[in-house]
Symmetry: C2
Subunit: 167 residues, 2 copies
């Protein structure tokens, strides 16, 4: 059932629907050199993200995507097919790391797991969900690990709402 | 002196040059609605990043930049005028949060401070520097706080290197 959730864009999950251990997998995304350079030129203009030859003499040993490019691609995958949350994917923050470089030719997919569901004490209409999202390449190596704190609305119990005018 | 370092692109700092408490400030960067929508369309296609009207009914209450867009802008500012590190700005990972939304019209500037300098035990040629970078708007409100772990090379002591051929 968790598998099905990941691919059904019509399912919208509230805090009350989420459980520790639930998993979601996105579609794949192909990264090429042109995308890597275009992003880097705009946001991270360093030799190892811009030019194959210049990248050889650096710590990366070859062209690699900016970590923020990997983060942005991960977000796109999560928004499109990864986490069908009611209210959208709204991050309060998180921890991020890049255990392996993302290279031209990589085919990425994001594997997410709900780590914790924390109803808000002060706001009864929402809570925080801690989600671990691993962005893996075609060799199943993690190019990014993100442990995000997402703000998720609660399912409103209509019976408990004040009665409004008829529509 | 710390102020001067931030603006001199010819200064390249090694691990040995960095000290806890050193500060660096970037130039400013103006964010507009068009940039916010362009980034969102490509990487974070959610209503509150794409459309002023649709954003009104969401948690953001109006158009706001994707957090990953703020992160990407922050990186550009750090690369261009923020942290003149030898070897470039190479992140191993970090913690990120977005305390306030970044809005159209915001003028951003990044304030960084070295929190810790950690020479590697296994690799004598490098170390990790923990840097806190606050991305602030024109009202001095933080729109992003990033505590990054950066990989920084050590200054090589030429006297200790094996003697090579004369050039």
């Amino acid at each position: 059932m968790a598998d099905a959730i990941g691919y059904n864009m019509n399912t919208r999950l509230y805090l009350d629907d989420l459980l520790q251990g639930q998993r979601f997998v996105t579609r794949t995304y192909s990264v090429d050199a042109e995308q890597i350079k275009t992003f880097a030129y705009q946001f991270d203009p360093q030799p190892f993200h811009l030019d194959e030859e210049a990248a050889k003499g650096t710590l990366f040993g070859g062209l690699a995507a900016s970590g923020w490019h990997t983060a942005a691609i991960t977000m796109r995958l999560l928004v499109e097919t990864g986490l069908p949350l009611a209210g959208g994917i709204i991050g309060a923050g998180g921890e991020i790391s890049w255990p392996n470089p993302c290279r031209p030719g990589d085919i990425l997919k994001v594997h997410s797991e709900i780590e914790e569901v924390i109803p808000s004490r002060s706001r009864t209409d929402r809570g925080i969900v801690r989600v671990r999202s691993e962005t893996r390449n075609q060799h199943d190596q993690a190019v990014q690990i993100l442990i995000a704190r997402l703000i998720v609305p609660r399912r409103i119990d209509k019976a408990s709402l004040p009665t409004g005018p008829m529509e």
